[in-house]
């Protein structure tokens, strides 16, 4: 069966360092947006990435409006919306609970993952909506789903939105797991402390026709470790499998990849296994970096946010450096400390989640 090609034709993001323009400036200049916070846990310091916690849903609509204005579309009436989110409307429920100290006024419809798609559908009247929630791979899987639907010709336009707000459940939950860093996270660093929870929004319009600014979503691949709920397979079998699946889907070889945008949360387990996977699969040692040292881990939004970074690296032909690294734990992977211009045709972007849920996306420059 022949398949339609899939093009990234417009996007916008919002993270603790601002919109996409400011995000890329921060990445290339190695300026982190993480701040040290005690508002969620008075007894513990945590490095968090925040932009405007009380205005998250207004920001969601504004970012989406920006994508519409950049795009060739007049409206989203013939566009499918796929949202990837881990948190959904939990923050709204928390606000009610804080105020009332009771469940009485919690509106279950505001609590669900789908509250994000419903908010955007109300604002823009999409043709249809979907919500995908697989923890930290949510919006990467949303992009994979969008690619499949366009491949098959089921839709011509799909808007993927990855969005997660900061909330007590996630900040305190990750603290309970002992994986939060009290300072800016240091992905791939020897003796790293942990991750920074952050909020973020990434909105990406995928279409079946190319425009002059397009980047191609060439391939995607998923896998499941089926190993442990919170720890990745130490032999990196699942991480390697999802990248191999994505490369196969894109019709390219490992040595064609010019840059790896790593999941790189800054936790001991994730970074060790991801570095092993990249070391094993990419023997030509392409540059790799985790931009979570700049943005923090935006959870369900991370896949979309980092897909935007992958597209920008291709457009700017400039490698994103690894911020906050002095001594790498794994010296067999290529972690550039400075940005530099380079020919970048293909980028692979990794997303890994609890539950051993692995997704890799391959983006390519238009030839």
């Amino acid at each position: 069966m022949s398949k339609n090609r899939v093009y990234v034709n417009a996007y916008e993001s919002l993270s603790c360092v601002g919109d996409t323009k400011h995000l890329m400036q921060a990445i290339y200049n190695r300026e982190s947006g993480i701040s040290i916070d005690t508002s969620y846990m008075k007894e513990h310091k945590a490095g968090l990435g925040s932009f405007a916690p009380d205005e998250f849903f207004a920001s969601l609509v504004a970012v989406t409006q920006n994508v519409l204005e950049q795009s060739p579309l007049e409206n989203f009436n013939e566009t499918l919306l796929i949202v990837g989110s881990s948190v959904g409307g939990i923050g709204k429920s928390e606000q009610h609970f804080f105020r009332d100290k009771s469940y009485k006024n919690i509106n279950p419809k505001e609590h669900a993952i789908s509250v994000i798609s419903e908010t955007l559908d109300t604002a823009f009247s999409f043709k249809d909506t979907r919500s995908l929630s697989t923890a930290c791979t949510s919006s990467a899987n949303a992009l994979m789903l969008a690619q499949r639907l366009i491949n098959l010709g089921a839709y011509k336009n799909v808007l993927v939105v990855g969005a997660d707000a900061l909330c007590y459940t996630t900040v305190c939950g990750f603290q309970a797991l002992g994986v939060l860093s009290t300072q800016q996270c240091t992905p791939f660093q020897e003796g790293r402390e942990g991750m920074n929870v952050a909020e973020g929004i990434g909105a990406i319009l995928l279409q079946d026709v190319a425009i002059s600014e397009s980047v191609e979503l060439c391939g995607s691949g998923g896998s499941s470790d089926a190993f442990h709920m919170t720890n990745p397979d130490p032999e990196a079998g699942g991480a390697i499998a999802c990248m191999q699946n994505a490369l196969r889907d894109a019709g390219i070889n490992a040595e064609d990849v010019d840059y790896v945008n790593a999941h790189g949360t800054g936790t001991q387990a994730n970074d060790a296994v991801e570095a092993l996977a990249v070391e094993t699969l990419f023997t030509h040692k392409p540059p790799m970096s985790s931009t979570k040292a700049i943005t923090g881990h935006t959870l369900g939004a991370a896949g979309a946010l980092e897909a935007i970074i992958a597209c920008e690296v291709i457009k700017q032909q400039r490698i994103a450096p690894q911020t906050a690294l002095s001594v790498a734990e794994n010296t067999q992977v290529n972690l550039p400390l400075e940005s530099y211009e380079s020919t970048v045709k293909y980028v692979i972007s990794n997303s890994f989640a609890f539950g051993g849920n692995n997704t890799a996306l391959v983006f390519g420059a238009l030839s």
């Binding site: 069966m1 398949k3 846990m41 881990s86 939990i90 429920s93 609970f97 100290k101 469940y103 279950p108 419809k109 609590h111 669900a112 993952i113 789908s114 043709k127 249809d128 909506t129 979907r130 919500s131 995908l132 929630s133 697989t134 923890a135 899987n141 789903l145 499949r148 639907l149 491949n151 098959l152 089921a154 007590y168 459940t169 305190c172 939950g173 990750f174 603290q175 309970a176 797991l177 998923g222 896998s223 499941s224 470790d225 089926a226 190993f227 442990h228 709920m229 919170t230 079998g237 699942g238 499998a241 889907d249 989640a353 609890f354 539950g355 051993g356 849920n357």
Partner: protein, 282 residues
């Protein structure tokens, strides 16, 4: 078209009881640590689907839930605001939408893609469409597809959550189908509509059916639509006893394959139009 190779189903109406833990102990000596009732419900249904067959390790797992694991959210809130404690790690982990899918994948050693989708009352149709696409594109060879929803007590809370009237009998269920594009050895074929149908298109579509076809109506079909369809031909109505929950469409699929022979048209709707699932036993 995709083919259903096996089905599994566990569920109850609100006036029945279901001891999930005891049911699991009765079938498996391996009690899975750190799981809660929602996860055990998912495991129980998946086990029922796979108990009599081998499954390939690269089988993908697609799961849907209308409401997800709401009980664990209440536990997390209680820990913080009533017990004044930080979240228990196990509850935080179990609050993730893909945790139940992980435990199913781990139990059956499935290393294929593992997804979790929600679209409230049309979650199953959305998931079936994704599976139909991925099988057609040969991205997957087998997909274990399940819908899981747990009835939360008090029932009034769930009625509010679902936005249903007091008279609607509620239920819970864990219904799973093993799907493939391979016909050999299959129990039934399945087609889900790729696009929403308007009312006229739906009626035109149903006019082509034989009167021996069974029809089932989802919760969001209007009474006048049901009457119009019944007026077309003397279709037999296929019903399941499991009360309403947002993935009950999967129960219609699993129950029809196990209890009935023939052809089923399951119809549901939302503001964008009607969806149709066609099942034909082989």
């Amino acid at each position: 078209m995709v083919y259903i190779h096996s089905v599994g189903s566990v569920g109850r109406r609100e006036d029945e009881t279901l001891d999930v833990k005891a049911s699991w102990k009765a079938i498996s000596a391996k009690m899975i640590r750190r799981t809660d009732r929602f996860i055990q419900l998912a495991l129980l249904g998946a086990y029922d689907a796979l108990k009599e067959r081998d499954v390939l390790s690269d089988t993908a797992l697609y799961m849907a839930s209308g409401q997800g694991n709401l009980a664990v959210f209440k536990r997390l809130r209680d820990q913080r605001y009533i017990q004044k404690q930080p979240p228990k790690p196990v509850d935080f982990i179990n609050s993730l939408s893909n945790t139940a899918g992980f435990y199913v994948a781990q139990y059956f050693e499935l290393t294929g893609k593992n997804l979790n989708i929600s679209r409230q009352s049309l979650s199953i149709e959305t998931l079936l469409l994704l599976a139909q696409n991925d099988l057609a594109l040969k991205r997957e060879s087998y997909i274990l597809l399940g819908g899981v929803d747990e009835l939360q007590e008090p029932v009034a809370f769930t009625q509010k959550t679902l936005g249903v009237c007091d008279a609607t009998p509620l239920g819970e269920g864990s219904n799973w189908l093993l799907l493939s594009s391979e016909k050999m050895g299959a129990k039934a074929s399945l087609v889900v509509s790729k696009k929403r149908l308007d009312r006229d298109s739906l009626l035109t579509r149903l006019e082509r059916e034989e009167a021996t076809t069974f029809v089932s109506f989802g919760y969001h079909c209007k009474a006048e639509d049901v009457s119009a369809i019944k007026a077309l031909k003397p279709f037999q109505v296929f019903e399941v006893k499991e009360g309403y929950h947002e993935t009950v469409a999967a129960a219609y699929c699993t129950h029809f394959v196990t209890k009935q022979k023939g052809r089923l048209i399951y119809i549901d709707a939302d503001k964008n139009g009607y969806t149709v699932i066609e099942i034909e036993t082989l």
